[in-house]
Amino acid sequence: MKKIIVAGGGIGGTIVANRLTKMLSDQVENSEVEITVLERNETHIYQPGQLLIPFGLTDRHELIRREREILDYRIKLLSGKKGEIKKIDPQNNSVITSDERVHSYDYLIIATGSHLNWEEVPGYNAVYSPWDMDSSMKLREAINQFNGGKIVVNVAKLPHKCPVAPLEVTLMLDDYLRRRGIRDKTEIFYTYPIQGVFGIKSANDLMIKIFESRGINIISPFNVTRVDESNKTIESQEGEKVRFDLAIGVPPHTGAKVIGDSGIGDRRNWVPTDKYALKMKNFSNVYVIGDTTDIPISKAGSTADFESYIIATNIANEILGNKPVKVYDGSVFCYIATGLDSGTYIRFNYNNPPIPPPPSYVHWWGKLLYNKLYWTVTAKAIV
């Protein structure tokens, strides 16, 4: 029997496990292949949806499901201590969980994701963040009580998950304040680590135009060094100090602690990965998916979805005695909300930059639909 272990049951791990089960359906049914997902948490959060919480467009209960309900019933799920990964040992083709059990594998897919490291910037706990479920709920209250003043939107470090989301939260906030009639009493400052507001030129150019037309101030490059909660200021390496009444931000991200504990990542716990084959460097039977990799591509749910086709197809081909044929071309697709009823999108790969269309209601509707379809279509690898 061939054993496939998926280490992590977030968006990437769940989609790739379901896709593999579909591709190897007969082999799983005949017990020739066993697919196991190791995940400490019993619940699954659709994190991209957290961005809509502060504006009352969705709620916590719509973004959480039980992992068991999303996974194909033929996939073995181990959660709690049985699913908490203590060590990944690719030299010995094994993963050790907190119950001290050693799980051997023929193929491993590392899907341990990215995590928030609030402590890396002193005082960052004073910043509200839609990147965290609880903080997003608190931000909803704070925005609701806000009656004018200075708002800072900050990105602490690159890369982070959902790269377009800082743009979205800024533009949705602007629209929300206009609808409440307090935009003229509010100054918005967008602070970003590199020049501009986004890393890709075509999207950056469009967004700067929109920011300017909405009167949103841009301070970049701005690499945050500390947040002073008592004086309500945020400071940068570049010597800027901005006062705020409300701060919204993206805390620094790192890979999972277990990557560092296992000695298989770089200093930020990203796993060295071949950008085309999606294999962990120096290991032919270990694949890496989604935010977990160190490849220079977006850390986004759609990236993991695109990558899942390559990984699942290649593992299935190897098991079925065929050659692994697919390579990842760097495909990414992200909707970008430009208000509370408008949006655009970027679709690109390594070699072809995006051409974002003019914002429209159609793309806003597409974004909402994409979120809604996550549970029944995307996560279940229906397409």
Partner: protein
Amino acid sequence: MDYLYLVLNYSVLIVKVIKMQEIKIYKTIDLTGQSCAGPLGELIGVMDEIVKGEAVEVIVDPRSDTKDKLLEWVKNKGYKIVSNREESGRMIVVIGK
């Protein structure tokens, strides 16, 4: 006089070579493709991670404007170009602190 000048130049070259040999490449980043953080966004965090004696090797397309932006950024940040070469149509730049 010419002899002294030659010896001095050779000495400087030898010191440079020894220094380059001492530098360890912490990571190689391929910046030839599109990414949301952009080439500098991908690089900026990695540069924060390196320690004394280390450098980051980046691969860029010499025909793109990334090369010029990169060199300007290195200068503005006060970092240094340890080496810079072209290989199979790609530019390979080693950046240190």
